[in-house]
Symmetry: C2
Subunit: 234 residues, 2 copies
DNA sequence: TAGTGGTCTAGACCACAGG
DNA sequence: CTGTGGTCTAGACCACTAT
């Protein structure tokens, strides 16, 4: 047991505080002793307690306010994290054999719904790509992507027949802002042909709009083979 | 511009490093100067640089290894965080009027699939609850929940006719481990009756298994009204 | 205004892993 | 063995905000 005057690391402090909370010693809404008190309790510097509590706050376990002190959150752990990985990695990590295929590539004036979605000017040109990703030869993910050629003219010259646009984009604009939407959709005939499923099958769908340096860069809709699940733990 | 010998906060350092990365000054795989160098560059203490870089590492932007130094990650492992909130909050935050209703409540021997899923002993008793959540009187979410009575005998005495089991559980075992699965499903006749939709509609489904102090506590399957979307940004 | 968390510092020692 | 990040300290000042 960790008691008074025992030197503690920030991890010790963090896990001890957490166990006091999980065990119900401090209930939701309760006020936790302040940093100076805890520092004496745990026999460490205030900065050490601060780091432990800051991380608990980041994790959504506690709420901190100057002067008011630190309280256990009323509604705990509100966030689940999902890794947004590249399809290739997702498949190979599961031990599958990854294959990519470009279905079509056209340059068009951005359709109205896309212009609205990405706030593009009238007549904005966009590169429209349709691709498939296979795991062990079995359809895994259908990718329907639009790239804003005004913001990313280089995309017009890129060869997407061997490289998947996601990976090209990551190499080109590695760190961007994005908005993600998860939903359940129905497979239409066209999608079924690609995913080798039946019309009316439920399809897990991910939509992602991406901005870079304030400009809308790309919109993608990923449709997964029936049975796909996104999993996480906390 | 932030230059040499200007006092910087960890946020200054973090955002300057990040912009060097997003602007391509440092490409994926590149080695970043070490903490001591950056501290002189930014005119701050090493601890300040350390915090900035630690946060960038937590965010999946850079990779740090002792002796080897810090590099920009090859594949930015972006993590999307989704708010797993209580339905009541989710609905009221959108300005809806929340209503809860208990559909059924039975105590049963845990069915085989549940025992397998939660690793329960044979003959484990479970409380089976079916509930509905409405927004402005319109079906919003269907909740099908099992609570392990061996781990949580108190649940047998709880009154779920007015309090939703999620909220009761949060108050009882606030901080627990969970496994979450997101998927797309088809609505069957029974679900349709509850959600007021049509058989064959795609339904966004969340399954969550929860553990507390090593024991499986509850399994829940949430089915959302057609059209539901889970959204996040990064 | 006073109490609390937020941050910075200058220095120290340690842990790990590359060469 | 040595360079790097990981962590801790004791003290300081600042920034909020409840009262």
């Amino acid at each position: 047991m960790i008691g008074r005057y025992m030197k503690s690391t920030y991890k010790d402090v963090k896990s001890d505080l957490l166990s006091k909370i999980t065990k119900g010693e401090w209930a939701p809404g309760d006020l936790i002793p302040n940093e100076v008190e805890l520092a004496t309790t745990y026999g460490c510097a205030r900065a050490t307690v601060n780091r432990a509590m800051r991380e608990l706050a980041d994790d959504g376990i506690i709420e901190r306010r100057r002067k008011a002190g630190t309280r256990v959150r009323m509604t705990p752990v509100r966030q689940a994290r999902f890794d947004i990985s590249v399809v290739r990695d997702e498949i190979t990590e599961k031990g599958g054999d990854y294959r990519y295929s470009l279905v079509s590539r056209t340059v068009d004036v951005a359709p109205d719904w896309l212009r609205a979605r990405l706030q593009l000017p009238v007549d904005a040109k966009a590169l429209h790509l349709v691709c498939m990703h296979y795991s062990d030869g079995v359809p895994y993910e259908h990718e329907d992507r639009w790239i804003n050629l005004t913001a990313l003219p280089d995309a017009a010259d890129a060869d997407f027949s061997n490289e998947c646009p996601t990976e090209w984009l990551l190499a080109t604009i590695p760190f961007s802002k994005a908005e993600i939407n998860l939903s359940a959709e129905l497979a239409d005939q066209k999608l079924c042909d690609y995913l080798a499923c039946s019309v009316g099958d439920p399809v897990f769908s991910v939509e992602r709009s991406t901005w870079w340096e304030g400009d809308a860069v790309t919109y993608v809709r990923l449709s997964y083979r029936p049975g796909y699940r996104l999993t996480t733990r906390y």
